[in-house]
Symmetry: C2
Subunit: 384 residues, 2 copies
């Protein structure tokens, strides 16, 4: 089956390939096999009742003498948004709070320590419309908006770090908007915020119409469960963005996203995984699912007729490890929770093996980049 | 079949998947389908007689008003080296010249404009031994060694740009060694040289024992058939290396490599392809094939017994396009020639669509990197 009906690459391969071939194909495609996590049956029951997928995998590291294993569990949530047509903003936000609350309950049953939701998770991805109202009304104060308060309660209740990507209304700086992720400590305190560093101007992703490039640099958050960073959506296309989070010490980089099938699906398995490899860290790629339809029709700058839909978000959320291995993806078309157990010691172990930081020659690149951005720069081209 | 016996991922999928599923799987794994090239039957006959694989694919771009299509054909060569045991150096080099000569004949029949050989193509990948003689005797003068002369003849004869990665002996600077690629114009003139910028210290890749990091920066070569650059082997793990070639204007970046199954196979489809996506250019990933055995036994720093082999090189050479699509790989275990037709106009077209250069914020990264390399740098870590 084509399009949004195709459940997942992994299920298709498992269905058709003989076992020996399947193992070779998986080894080439996914690297060292990830162990299936033994999650509690009541979690599967709750997920089934809530109509979302639950999968669990574990990455392992070698035992060391001077460090204990630093085993933590990540939760990645992908979900559809309720159809916006006719529903007041506050009702839509509340419906999403309820949905996420139910999924986080299951994450707690699975022992998740850090959970991350998808980009702008409290709203439909309405930037395709280029309309301001009512969509900008989904924006909230990052520090004391209802969604941050909601996440603080979740964090306290479940002793869980919560990464909550929202549309931020910055009342202290001209009432402007940002694409922001809040990081809430498992204590319930706000640990800090980070903003989307690279803003797309691609197809229906008219995001530069709504907000600008983030001004917070590349902060890394020291949580009780490891050092984490958040590279929001389009920033996954920029290797330097991943690199700077890694240089600042991130062991896990989340990539909450919203991206559609026709545009990016063949890029999806490549970019976050390449970042895990190149930076000796874990990366967590999260994409929403489902189709979103809007009240007014809009065009897409592609010569086609005006329409009301945004294509389908293809889900397929996954985690990649510093050794290049990865989990299977969540499905392409269902809400889901991916629970992944990581031993963070793997980051330094792979760093010692592959040594990309040591061999990175960053001084040279800092100099070359500084030259290259000068308006007078001449590219180093050799001619006959 | 496992290990070196497994022919290729693509052949396995084609054998087992129903057509509709195969199409979806290929779309997710490989992006927009590449057209099969109609190559002359005498080329296939010559390849069959010479016992090497021949495959051909074409990437297309949209027609523009102000630029004609800039259609060029690339040739990627992967091959095994003759067993070194007991053969004099000069005989081994000559045998490889003859082998490559035959493959280039077929490339010429296929209309190839630019051909690239694998890393250190005139020698076994002997750095695993940590022995100097006889292996350093494979090094040649980049400007007037026999291999460069041989490539100049090939270039003239076939009107073909030749990229020839060799071990270079630099007699003008202390007789030291470099891992170098010569770029020979289709006129037969030497266009220039480029050196491996990042040197591995990984497993049996003891290359830092033999040569240092390249000192030629990131030159791009303006050929009659487009602007090309060469990112040698381990440099593919460093996103900044790809980026600087791209900033200097490369439309096609070759990655001649030598890498083995146990170490890197699951990384192989990711890194060069990510570079094509991130930099709006074509990348050409080339790996040798076969197993190499050495006269004296050596250990691999992995606690295992001394041995004489280097594991198997898994071939799988491929070309990736700026839109994220890619060709299938050559086989994992046979010599091969991959002919790929590119319309270089696709680079700028994808640049205009995705805009990673425009949104790259290189000033910010130049500044952040310059700070990060200071010994006094404190990573930007947020604590509760």
């Amino acid at each position: 089956m084509a399009g949004a009906g195709f459940e997942s690459l992994e299920r298709c391969l498992e269905k058709h390939l003989p076992l020996a071939d399947l193992q070779e194909v998986k080894r080439i495609l996914y690297g060292k096999e990830t162990r299936k996590l033994d999650l509690p049956s009541r979690a599967f029951e709750a997920a089934s009742k809530g109509d979302f997928e639950l999968q669990g995998y574990a990455f392992q590291a070698v035992a060391e003498q001077q460090r204990r294993p630093r085993t933590v569990r990540m939760g990645l949530v992908q979900n559809r948004t309720p159809p916006p047509r006719g529903h007041p903003v506050v009702k839509q936000i509340t419906a999403l709070h309820r949905r996420i609350e139910a999924i986080v309950e299951v994450a707690a049953m699975c022992g998740v320590n850090i959970i991350c939701f998808q980009e702008a998770w409290t709203m439909p991805f309405a930037f395709c419309t280029r309309e301001k109202l009512p969509w900008t009304e989904f924006a909230e104060s990052a520090e004391d908006g209802p969604t941050t308060k909601f996440c603080q309660e979740l964090a306290r209740k479940h002793d869980m770090v919560v990464v909550s990507p929202i549309l931020e209304r910055d009342t202290e700086h001209g009432d402007i908007l940002w694409n922001t992720a809040m990081v809430i400590s498992n204590s319930g305190a706000i640990l800090g915020k980070t903003r989307k560093n690279h803003i797309p101007r691609v197809g229906d992703f008219n995001e530069s119409t709504y907000y600008m490039e983030g001004n917070l640099g590349h902060p890394v958050f020291q949580t009780q469960f490891g050092r984490i960073a958040v590279n929001i959506c389009y920033g996954r296309h920029h290797p330097l963005n991943w690199l700077m989070y890694s240089i600042n010490g991130a062991e896990v980089i989340f990539n909450p996203s919203a991206t559609i099938g026709a545009l990016s699906e063949s890029l999806w398995p490549i970019e976050a995984r390449n970042a895990a490899i190149a930076n000796h860290c874990f990366t967590c790629a999260i994409n929403r699912v489902g189709e979103e339809f809007f009240p007014n029709e809009f065009t897409s700058g592609d010569g086609k007729k005006a329409h009301r839909d945004f294509g389908y978000f293809y889900g397929s959320s996954y985690v990649a490890a510093p050794d290049g291995s990865r989990t299977p993806g969540l499905s392409r078309n269902r809400d889901g929770l991916l629970v992944t157990e990581l031993d963070l010691n793997l980051c330094r172990q792979v760093n010692d093996i592959w040594g990309f930081k040591m061999t990175g020659r960053y001084e040279m690149y800092a100099r070359e980049l500084a030259e290259a951005v000068q308006p007078s720069y001449s590219p180093k081209i050799v001619k006959e």
